[in-house]
Amino acid sequence: MSAPQGTTSGLRYPSNKKTIYDRNLNRSKNAELSRAAFAYLFVEMISYAQKRVKGIADLEKRLNTQGYPLGLRLLDLLLTRTANPLSSIRPTRILPLLQFIAQTLWRHLFGRPADALERSESDPGQYMLYDNEPLVNQYISTPREMSQLNCAAYVAGIIEGVCDGAGFATEGVTAHSVGGESEGGDKTEREMWPGRTVFLIQFKKEVLEREEIMGRGGG
């Protein structure tokens, strides 16, 4: 017999007592989600983040914070799900970590790998991950007065969560638009992909030091 209405408070449990924690982790492995449903949810997330916000940087920070816990969880989930037991250990070097993000994470979230991965020439601790058409921005047109805003800051938060979860502390991951009329980069590429976005990943100094030591150790 179920409890009468109104007496229970807080979380509702299914009648067979099976919560999300009792389910097999692989159950939703190949499940897909309605894009429209996500688009409307994302609209509400942005409207929520926009409340009492001071500026564009603040708004991006909030979106980033919303994505961060997702990244922490996705790292473990995706590693648990890998079929090969050897590849289910956490990445310990920068390059495998970035590969994991660009391939496994991107495939899981967006159904395709990221479009390019580059290392900054000026700063050895900075990496650039390119997405020609971020799925989260598919239906979003940013108004002219907010042209600096890129709502893929949410995805940047997910990346930051993955990096932090794997033990690679970052100074922050940020999303910037590099398509359309913005400056820099290849002109034809910019015209072809007006929504092209770069995710700047800036690792902390200690991470780079560790990377160097591991490199010398012949790892």
Partner: protein
């Protein structure tokens, strides 16, 4: 095949979007456009009233538990097409009361399909845009681009 222009009128009769696809049309001030949209909105409401009352469907009492018939089925939709020797105007009203007006050449086929596709674009790039407030003028870059792509392929 020529598509002249597109108007979108909000449910309160305000012009929220207008776009010309064809060069060489007579220039109107933005105030004129607003007045045009407002007059059409009123005219549309009158044509709705002019429709004969639909016959009340005989409700079969024997079938209990059958779903109630949609309240939209017998409802008059108002002015849908206006044709002249120079242009054809098709109006499509959504269930939420937004009107899409498409001005084309009189010979243009499949206007209703086009207008539904435009409604689809509206649903995608306007309604799923977090920076758009309903009933306000539409300023969405991706909607403009989508319309451009769609109309240019057609003509």
């Amino acid at each position: 095949m020529v598509v002249f222009c597109l108007f979108i009128i909000s449910k309160s009769g305000g012009l929220i979007y207008n776009r010309e696809f064809h060069a060489g049309m007579s220039k109107l001030t933005s105030n004129d456009y607003l007045m045009l949209a407002g007059s059409f909105h009123g005219m549309h409401a009158i044509t709705k009233q002019l429709c004969p009352v639909p016959p009340t469907p005989v409700t079969p009492l024997s079938v209990a538990g059958a779903p109630a018939p949609s309240p939209f089925i017998g409802r008059p939709s108002g002015l849908e097409v206006l044709e002249s020797s120079h242009f054809r105007m098709q109006c499509f009203q959504t269930l939420t009361g937004i009107k899409f007006l498409l001005f084309t050449e009189p010979q243009q086929p499949n206007v209703d399909v086009m207008i539904r596709r435009i409604y689809e674009l509206y649903a995608d790039y306007v309604m799923k845009n977090p920076f758009y407030t309903v009933e306000m003028p539409i300023r969405c870059e991706k909607f403009d681009r989508g319309l451009d792509g769609f109309v240019k392929v057609r003509s």
